[in-house]
Amino acid sequence: MSRLLHCYALLILSICMFIFTESRLLHVHAQTTVLTPFEQNLDRIKRATVLVYLAQETRDDLQIICVGSGTLVSRRGLILTNAHHTVPNDACNGNTIIIALSLSTEQAPIPLYRAEVAQANEGLDLAVLQITQSNDGRTVDLDTLSLPFVELGDSNLVELDDTVSVMGYINLSADSVQLRRGTITSFTAEPSGGEKTWFKTSAAIPALMAGGGVYNQDGELIGIPTTAPLSRQTSSQTCLVLQDTNQDGTINERDTCIPIGGFINALRPSSFAQPLVRAATLQTTVEVVSRSTAVSLSQFGFLSPFATRFFFSTAINEANMPTNVITSAPTGTRSLYLFFDHANMQPNTVYELRVNTDNIPNTALSLAPVRWSGANNGLWYIGTSNQVLPNGVYDFTLLADNIVLGSTTIVIGGGAQFVPSFSDIVFGLADESGNPLGNGFVLPVGTIANARFIYRNMQDGLEWTARWFFEGVEIFRSPPDVWRDGADGSKTISIQDANGLLPGKYRLELYIAGRLSATSDFTLAGLADGAFPKVFSEPTFIGGENQIEALSSSPTTNYPNTVENLFAQFDWNKIGTNTRWRLEWYIDEELFFSQNLSWVNADNGTQFLTRLARSGGLLDGRYRIDLYIDEIRLATNQASVGIGQLPIDRFADPEGLALRGRILDASSQQGLEGVSFILISDQFSVADFVWNTSQIYDVAVTDRNGYFELVRPLELSNDDVSFPYSVLIRSDGYLPIEFDGFVVKADTPNPLELTIYLTKGNE
């Protein structure tokens, strides 16, 4: 008996030793590091960054032509990238787009999918791709595709000195996704996007990162690094030779190389990409049905781009017109715009602005080679604002396709000069007092057009003149006159034609002593509706399988979501040929289509048609059409489809905690393949679970190593709201794991890696 007691005493001692030891060796503390929003999202952002190949595929060969970066912007495989390395062009002439993903953020990407261009704007150099096939050619079921993606942020909220992070690839298949940090150093203004048409950054971005993503500190995509198509120079640092493209048995400089070289610092704001992404998500095509087939000669590329009439201004108005014309600027000038007339510019024209300040390159004002996003012909500006420009001599040189189009110089410095000047020209129809009425830049067609301008520091006796142009041709010049209206004030002048002024584009130039002092363009179009032009009738909506059927239908503003084609029609009055106008489509107040067009139809007409089309029926929502001339909205209307609101996509939010981990056998310590990890919605407990998918938040199945990951991020709980998920792991032959109250918070490591051991049922 005493021996038994001795044994049991030994046993108790062993247990105590073990408990003490286990508490030191085996207890694992969960990490509670608090991460910044960008760091919390960093893993997801890295996974969402892809490498995009444009290849030429023949029956038995695949040759890579161009490469760039891209970013997944939806779980269904939409990728935002540049157009220059995805839409076939002279520099990148491929027919197959291949998408490579980094399966591990520490490894180089692996080609997995094929994609097609869903939406593109070559001028903006943006494209949205849609993954369509796996790399073996099988069609991908988009309903089952759940890829990590990023959310587009509001690029209009970006400010100078904001820290940004650029994500992309710098090498072909050798390196993992790379991060470059920098700050926003300046904004570049252009008519296509206003003050923030381009961001400039201090980050040195390798050219292969073009098409990747630029992120703010909240992990939102606010820009896309953009550059002109890279050239195939012979330098190995800028052009890699990978394949024996000429089939001579060796890979050398005689083979076609893939351009990768250089550095870029121009970022296209994400606000330009939003409509493209939205349109690709909606899978809705917009067609301008009534467009004439007439095209201008310049579209054939026979004529080279050229630019004339370079001048500077310090401010622009809502119609993108200069408010003044300056030849020098005082110390402390915060904004400067270079204006010029251009012609024969195409979307694939690569233009560049080089600015030197006192012979030193000024990267803030310069614009690296990028594609042209404006019209073929017209008035354009490139400028900057909201930052003090240092004193100096500024030399501006504009190039297109590496050819100098023109150059000009301005001196900034010295005190403010009180020189006689004209500014702020607006146009309209004069009232009894002689003040122009109207919207300022689009006038109804009539016999007279008035212009009012402000004058400062004028001296009586100064010679001044006004020149009027129609479609670039001078039609009237006021006889040289001396000034008699005092030093400061406003003055109204007009142009008249008893036979009626023709509809179209007009220009007014005001000169003081032979020097251009102010200029602005305006458009005559439409019938007079008081002082305002009635150019377009209110658009109406009609449905039908085709144009003929639609035109015989009665217009209405409510349609079922089974309708696959929705037409909008409007009449028009007195629109001159080549008048620039813009068509925009919105859904639930979100823009998804915007196109600038040149009017090539008759001056007057009815039933101009534009069509929305979607296979399977248009999505529910409120669809609105807007018509513009010179940035002035002249007509609008909207119609509802279905319930009049886009259905809520519960997977649309990429934010949240990523959950992944391993499930292993407790006895063998090996990963278990094929085990389902079921995360039950926070609305139900395990006891409530009746094995219905409607109760499930997400399910993951382990791979050959026992590794699993949920594709849907978990919502974070806080003091105000809690999301208590439940976990169920059940596998034949093993004890089930059931757990209620699975809560994750902001301080939970993201991604959260779990290691779970399953015990066999007979142990």
Partner: protein, 293 residues
């Protein structure tokens, strides 16, 4: 040369010449507990070979040899036939019991789809009662040839039957899975305790029927109750042991399982040893002195 002395060497030998079975049974269980504990502590820090795992299968047998068989040799009146029982049970276990439990019934695969009470019922009617009845049957069968003179003779043979079951079960476990050495020792301890409990109830039931002239229904009731209690211990152990999810590593709590199993065998040993001792004393009072040899 071993010999039996004509005169007893000590007073205690005169009173009790046999090996103390309850003590050695619990020593075996406790030793397996300690070994399993140690290997859990060591974990996978030492390299193990497959040969090492096969050698580990012999642990219950080796401990039985150390504590029981060698103890038997040292006893005044050693029991005979233990090897016969061992070999016979190895055949029965490998040929009938283990295949029935794991292939025909395949209880571990589906038992956990039931409620807690149903799991106890199922475990009791399968994993507990079948080895129990098999032990009973083997003892009845071998009783024709082996001299079972006391209750503890039955217990000693039941003990070796349990060792045989455990060894075969462990071999099948090793062949069907790829356990680590620590998991294997854990499993061996668990199954040894399971079969020990089954066997001691079988020995008790048979001893009461044979030596105490209990009712014909007594074995059925004893085996039934014992199996359900065994099932309860086992299901309770698996519930406590099963992984509880955490935000990092979620592993089974084997320590509680070890303690529950060891507690079970000790508790049942204490109870049944008390019952058997009381029954023996009652029987001694009922029997007249002249019948004693």
């Amino acid at each position: 040369m071993r010999y039996n002395s004509i005169t007893p060497t000590s007073v205690e030998d005169l009173i009790y010449p046999y090996r103390r079975v309850w003590l050695t049974l619990n020593l075996i269980a406790t030793s397996l507990f300690v070994i399993a504990l140690v290997f859990q502590l060591i974990g996978n820090r030492l390299p193990y070979t497959q040969l090492g795992k096969y050698l580990a299968l012999l642990l219950p047998f080796i401990l039985w040899v150390i504590f029981s068989f060698l103890g038997e040799l040292r006893a005044r009146l050693p029991r005979h036939g233990l090897w016969h029982t061992l070999l016979f049970t190895l055949v029965i276990a490998n040929g009938i019991v283990i295949p029935v439990l794991y292939d025909v019934l395949n209880v571990p695969a589906w038992i956990h789809e039931n409620t807690f009470f149903n799991k106890i019922l199922i475990h009791g009617l399968s994993m507990s009662i079948l080895p129990s009845i098999t032990t009973y049957s083997i003892l009845v069968y071998l009783g024709r040839a082996l001299p079972f003179k006391t209750r503890l003779d039955l217990l000693a043979h039941a003990e070796v039957i349990a060792i045989a079951f455990s060894s075969v079960d462990g071999l099948h476990y090793l062949l069907r899975n790829q356990p680590t050495l620590s998991s294997l020792t854990l499993y061996l301890f668990g199954t040894t305790v399971l079969y020990f409990i089954s066997s001691i109830f079988a020995a008790y039931a048979l001893s009461e029927l044979v030596f105490s002239q209990q009712s014909r229904f007594f074995p059925v009731i004893a085996l039934g109750l014992g199996s359900f209690m065994n099932g309860f211990i086992h299901i309770l152990k698996s519930n406590f042991t099963n992984t509880k999810l955490t935000l990092s590593t979620s592993a089974p709590n084997f320590l509680i399982g070890l303690v529950v199993s060891l507690g079970g065998i000790i508790a049942f040993s204490v109870v049944l040893s008390f019952l058997m001792r009381v029954a023996e004393q009652r029987q001694a009072l009922q029997t007249s002195p002249e019948k004693t040899i």
